[in-house]
Each structure stands twice: as C-alpha cells, then as structure tokens.
C-alpha cells in the first residue's frame, strides 16, 4: 500500500470520468495494513495480518442520492471494475427514490494532505521486549500496528488524504488473586525506554493488588476517576449527547442540559478538536473538521451538526460526521495536581477504570456501570486495599455536576484501541476527576 494515495486519486478520477450529465459524487477511502498479535499469559494466543481497503461512494442526481460501500482488492483494474459496477447499482437505486429534501452538499474545493512516513515498528523486536518485560507475569492483551489511510474526494474538487503509521499495545497484568491493572502504549514510533517505563508503572500498581480485597457496602462515597475511567463516562455522553439531530428529536442524553433544566459543574469545558489529535482533518462526508466548543463552564455551548441536520433543523453545519459524535474530545484541565490526588480524595475510591456503562434513566442523565481493573480504597490519602467490582448508578448532573470538586491539571491523551471493522483514529484528551459523591448500588 505504499502508493495508496495515488491509487485512491486514480479511483477518484475514474469515478469523475464515469459520471453522467447532472451527476455528482463523494468518495471516502479507508484502508489499513495491520498486524495483530494477541497475548494470554504472556504468550501469543493468536496472530495475523489484515490488508483491507474500502470506499464509500455517494451518487447524487436531481436531489436524489444513495451510498454504497465497496471492498477494494488493491489491484487497479479489478477495483476500477468494482467501482463501475457500484456506480451502476447506485444509478439503478436513485432512479427509484424521491428527492431528499434535506440533502446538503459541501461544495468548497478544499485540499488537506497529511502523511506520516514513520517506519513501522519491527514486530519481532516488539514481541521480544513484551515477552522479556512480562517474564513471570500474567499479561493479556493485544498489539496492533501498521499504516492507516483515509481519503476523500468529490465532484467539486475537494481532496483529502491522511496517512499515518501507528501502533497500539493494550494490555493488562493479572495478579494471581484475579485482580488486574490495565495499561497501554500507543504512538507512531516504538520507544523501548518509554515502553519499559509504562510497564514498570503497571507492575508497581500490580503490587498493591496483592493486598486483601476490601468489600464495600452500597452507598455514597467520595471518588477519584482517572482519565481512563472518565473516558468511559464521556464516551457515553458522546453517543447522541452533542448531536443536533438527537437534541432536536428529544433523544439526547444531555437533553436537559441543552434545554436548560439541568447543569453540569462550572469546572467542565468540553471541545471537539480538529487539530492536535489523531483523527483525520476531514470526515467521510467531505467536510474539513473544525473546533467546536460543546460545553463551557458547565453550560451548553455548541452541538455537532451534520449537513443533513443543518438543512432539516435550520442550523449551521460544522465538522460533524453522520453520527454527530465527537472524534477528538478534549476536556479542559483543572487545578488539582496529579501528585495531590490521594490527599484531596482523603477517604474514598480511587477508580482506575470503569466498564460497561449504560443509561438507567437517560433523560435524567442517570447512568450505571462497573468498576474494573485497579480500583482502590483510600483512607486519609493513602491506598489501603484493592476493591472488588462495584456497580455505580448516579446522575451526571450530580457526580459531574454539583458534587464535582476538582479536575487534575495534567491531562492524558486516551487513544482509542477499538478495532471494530477497522482500527479507529478517535481519541480524547482528559484530566482525572474528583467527585464528592458517587452512588454505589451493588
């Protein structure tokens, strides 16, 4: 896939040349050449390589439009034929459709090209380092690496290209008692010293997990959420929370925030970032991404508006993709130094990760979920014991609202390890959060 950009540009030209009178197109390209190595008990459980490329082609004519996703082979003549066949299918489809009253096409001929040419890590060397570091330990997780490509072109001259090398090691270390600590290491260039440092941190936490487990009763507790735990919470908010369409349809979990009935803490600022994060500077719909302030001092400040929503609800479109979800969410830093977290917590829970969150009453902002991985009971600013998994059930307007006491001054870039369908480029820049009350129920 060394010349993926020129292959994509040639495909876009083929589509352009094949268009009939009055037709327009958009073309999104997504490809990767990935190596996946899966570990269990510090040994390789499963390993493989995946080379895949797909395009999503939209054909527009007379206000009618339809989309088709096509898997590409990487062989130009074959792919040219697959796109030609796809174009025919779309022509047949849109002939059967009514005009879309909410169609809004981006017509600006923008250009964005970003190519990171870093060499991929040598997986044999990485494997050796992981095995050496994990010797005698129970490590489980996955190493994913290789180039990712995203491209966009349309009838109006827009062209975007994003090529990035990357790796992501996402792992856990398990204590013999079943407790575990989770860590990750992601980037463009593998640095043995950086990996060793992160591994040593995880190993140190593992030692705390060997102490007898504390069992808590349901009730209200002070709690510190690490950036990894907070990522799960904001991940839930991202599902429709800031979506212009969900808000208009009264289906957003942040409906009461945007309608003025509820407030988040004044400490909270949330932005969708177009630059400085990992996602491409453009989306599948062909819109260059821009910064959007979503929440400012706990008050709603903006929403993510897909062009179709803009047309339907008479709003200004911004960088949003069709799902109107943030891709690069940044929460503003606070003033609590990381080194002072345990002292500020005093007595309560240090929650390393949360897991399997869902809404128990979405309109009320009430969510539930489980603690997972390194979660500790803290007394008088000192870690006392690991905790068994506990369920919380509480409103975001409480634990991130009136009871939010502080955010850390240091933030962590949380890189998505999701590989559903393809390796993802989402990320979130988050502090840790100290709350005076989190309700545990089971």
């Amino acid at each position: 896939m060394a010349d993926a950009e020129s292959l994509f540009a040639a495909l876009a030209e083929d589509v352009r040349a094949a268009l009939g009178e009055g037709e327009a197109f958009t073309l999104w390209y997504s490809a990767e050449a990935s190596e996946f190595i899966r570990f269990n008990r510090a040994r390789v459980r499963q390993a493989g390589q995946v080379r895949q490329a797909t395009v999503s082609l939209k054909l527009v004519r007379d206000g009618r439009h339809a989309d088709i996703g096509i898997a590409l082979s990487g062989e130009p003549a074959t792919d040219r034929q697959r796109l030609a066949d796809g174009l025919l299918q779309l022509r047949e489809a849109i002939a059967q459709l009514q005009p879309d009253p909410y169609l809004l096409l981006e017509r600006d001929p923008w250009q964005r090209v970003l190519a990171n040419a870093a060499a991929p890590p040598d997986s044999s060397e990485v494997l050796a380092q992981i095995e050496a570091a994990a010797h005698g330990l129970d490590l489980v997780g996955i190493y994913a690496a290789g180039p990712l490509y995203r491209g966009f072109a349309n009838s109006f001259g827009a062209f975007g290209w994003h090529a990035a090398q990357g790796f992501h090691l996402d792992w856990s270390l398990f204590h013999a008692n079943g407790q575990a600590v989770k860590a990750d290491y992601a980037g463009a260039r593998w640095d043995a010293a950086e990996f060793a440092s992160r591994f040593a941190d995880a190993r140190q936490q593992l030692e705390h997990l060997g102490q007898p487990q504390r069992v808590l009763s349901p009730g209200d507790y002070r709690a510190y959420l690490t950036p990894a735990a907070l990522e799960e919470v904001v991940g839930m908010l991202s599902w429709g929370g800031f979506s212009a369409r969900a808000l208009a349809q009264k289906e957003s979990p942040l409906q009461r925030l945007y309608d003025g009935g509820s407030r988040l803490s004044r400490l909270l600022d949330l932005d969708e970032r177009a630059s400085g994060m990992l996602a491409p500077a453009f989306g599948p719909e062909g819109i260059p991404r821009s910064d959007v302030t979503l929440v400012s001092a706990g008050q709603p400040a903006g929403r993510l508006v897909y062009p179709r929503s803009a047309r339907e609800y008479d709003l200004a479109a911004n960088c949003a993709s069709a799902r109107e979800m943030p891709l690069s969410l940044a929460m503003g830093a606070g003033e609590l130094a990381q080194a002072d977290v345990l002292a500020a917590l005093g007595t309560g829970l240090y929650i390393g990760n949360l897991w399997y969150l869902n809404w128990s009453d979405a309109p009320a902002g009430r969510m539930t979920g489980m603690t997972r991985f390194a979660t500790f009971w803290v007394e008088d600013g000192r870690i006392q014991a690991p905790l068994g998994t506990m369920r919380f059930d509480d409103s975001i307007y409480s634990f991130l609202g009136e009871h939010l006491e502080a955010l850390t001054s240091e933030r962590q870039l949380r890189v998505s390890s999701s590989t559903y369908g393809e390796r993802q480029t989402d990320s979130a820049l988050l502090p840790g959060a100290l709350t005076g009350k989190l309700t545990l129920t089971l």
Binding site: F39, V44, A53, D85, D100, L127, T368, T389, R391
Partner: protein
Amino acid sequence: MFDRARQHFAALSTRAGFHSLRLVRQTGEHCMLRRGIAEPPSLTQDMGAMLSVRLDGVEAYAATSDLSLAGLQGALDSAEALARRIAAHGLVDLRGLEPPTGHARYESPGLHGPFPGLAERFALLAEVSASVPADSRLVNWVVYLDQQRHEQLYLNSAGAEQWQALRFVYPGISVTAFDGSDSQTRSFGGFGSGQQGGAEVMARLGFAGAASRVADEALQLLLAPNAPSGATDLLLMPDQMMLQIHESIGHPLELDRILGDERNYAGTSFIGLEDFGRYQYGSPLLNISFDPGIPEELASYGHDDEGQPAQKEFLIRDGLLLRPLGGALSQWRSGLPGVANSRACNWNRPPIDRMANLNLEPGDRTMAQLVGGIERGILMSSNRSWSIDDARNKFQFGCEWGRLIEDGELKGVVKNPNYRGVSANFWRSLAAVGDASTFEVHGTPYCGKGEPNQVVRVGHASPACVFRQVEVFGGAA
C-alpha cells in the same frame, strides 16, 4: 468468484502442514424513513478471504481482499512467515489437533424467494410510517428495513469444503414521545429481533401493522408513573429474556473467556473449568440449549467458521451446568466437550468462541398461568439498557415497557422499569417457565467481543419466565 477460489486454493503452495481458506462475500441494503422522510439508502458490497496456516504447533492468519491467485498466495505466504516468527512464543501447541474434513452446504430458509425491490421497500416503509398517529407529543419516529446476505466458502488442506449462504432481515420501528421534560421511546423488532429468511420475516413479525401500537405505547409511557422500587416477582417477556440469557448465561459460558483470552477486553467469567458437570446454575426449570436447528433464528448454520459441524447440545439441563460454549480449539485446550461455535464476523477477523443460537427451552405454563401465579410483581419487556461486570455476575438491565401485576392480574403501565441482580443467584430464582405459546425467536447482529474486535449475529429464543423476589426500581424523573 467462489468457483475461481476453489481453483486458486488447489493451486496454492505452502510448507505449512495445514492451511485453510475462508472466503466471504457480504452484501447489504439499509432503507430507512425518519418522520416520514426517506434517508438515502445505503448498500454494501464486501468480499475477502482469510488464509490460515498451522506450522510448528502454532497458527497464524493473513486476510486480504485481493482474491486473485497472486493475492491469495501472498496472504498465505504472509501467514506462513508470521507463524514462523511466533513459533517460539505460542500459548498453545496445536500439534495433534485434528482438522475438519466435512463437505456440506447450508442455506437460509427462503433464500431464493422474492424480496421487495428498493421502490417497493420504501413504499412499504412509507405506509408503516404513515400509520403513526398525528400527535404533537410524538417527536420522532423511525421505520427501517435491513437486508444482509452472507456467503461463505471454507476449504482446507485436509479436504473440507463447506458452503453457506445466509440472508438476514431486520424490520424495525422506533417512536419517541416527549412531554417537555421527559421522553420515552418504544420500539419494535429491528436489531433486537432479526431473523433469517426473506420477505416472510416481515409478515411473521407483524411489521406492517405494528407502528400505531408502538406509538400508542410510547404515549402511554409518557403518562405512566415510574416503576416501583423493591424486591418483587418479575415476569420477563421473551424480548428481554434474550438479553438476560445473552449476558448472564451466554458470555460467562464462553470457553475462551474462562481460559483467560478475553481478560483484557470482554472480560472473564464467574464460572471455572471445574464447574462443568457440577455447578447448579439455576433452578431445575432452567434448560439452556445451543441450537443451530431453528432455521429462522439468526445464528443457525451448518458448520462453524473452522469447519466443525453444528448440532444441538444442552449446556444446562434441569439447572445443572453441563458444557461450555467452546469450539474445537478451546475443547482441545481445556479437555472439555463443547459446541461448534468458533465464529468470525467477517473475512478480516479470525474465529473465536462466540455465542450462536442460545435458547431457553419452553416449560409448561401459559401466559395466563404465569401472570396468575404472581401476587405482587412486574412485567418487563423490550430491553433498552444493559450493564454487567466483567465476570458476568453483577448485572443491571432496563426495559422500555413495564406493567404491574397484582393478585394474578396485569395492571397499569409503568415507565423506566429496571432490575438488578447477580447471575449466580438470579437463575436459581427462576420459578415458572412459559410454554411453547409464549416462545419467541429473537436475535441481534451486535454482539461485541474479541481482540481485534468483532461483532457477530446471535440468536436467542425463549418463552416468558417468572423470577421470584428480584430487586426492581424505576427512573429518577
């Protein structure tokens, strides 16, 4: 494409002792109307192949969408090279694991029957959408119809050749009502109730006539009080039993979880290897089967994705845990009997232990008897929220629809019905199981698991069931 793949496979060369090819073509069509306006249809055409090798006791794979002979040979070479690199690091020594050799063909029911064209589908959706009544409180309604086809050819160097062609149909409706503060959504079918087949799936599920009832129920929920809190008897309808079976029986019985593969992502299990044949999972009324034999159920198939023939097996009988959900490799690793459930979501992901059709066998009570046997309780239907710990023990689930039960009779509607419990105790409180008249087939295409991540289709069929003294609660609003 598939005939050419057979020829290419015969021409491939490798020094590995065993190799296989799994070629997949998936197509799909998604049609949807929102508030009566058609959204642009979305079509998919996906195809690719996974080549796997076993060499020096380890296995490696390479997946490619280049289906030429050179493309397949290149992938096979990559898999072989990777296997050599990891040979000294493997968790499991596969030498001695016998490969499958069977020849078979399997097709969905109604695969070749007619299915409405695009224009007809949109006309049908418009008709369904138009039956949502005009009411200013109904702020959103969506009707949709998805059709997906999955064709797969599995070949291996031991002589196996298995062909499967499946079609999945998902008709769905969702209606949201809003009163200025609270919103309530009621839904029908969709991605919780898909089935294999053709146009008959829509008729079987009653899609055409459902929208007005769904809308009416959304409005009823808006006016309803919150579900009460406290311990009470719980009657779960089949569309919620599906989720209950899935999360608190299916996932904990996946053998790869028990063997630790999933501890970094999907989690572990409160069940251990030593529990099979001994552990009383539920009351004597609990009978759970792995059943690939209900043709319309989403995960009915002839062979799993590593070539093992699928047949019905009881995982739990009379409440006693008998066997896990583990494919041939996990059976090899654990020494336990299993089922043919080694499955992959597509050509670009390797097979792992997955749920397939996991069903609760019918009992002997009619719906009237189930309700009549409850003095104080609540009926819950249609899952909308699910959360469970990584060992699949502490759970909390929420439903769209609740009805109080008093003195053996159904009473008023309640909104935001939720319940929580612990798997290890919950199934022991199973007090009554509905008969075949209450039995329904459900399923979802969105069961997530694995590293790299995969979503697969799973089917769950169940009667309505009664559980004693479960902790229930309502919403905060």
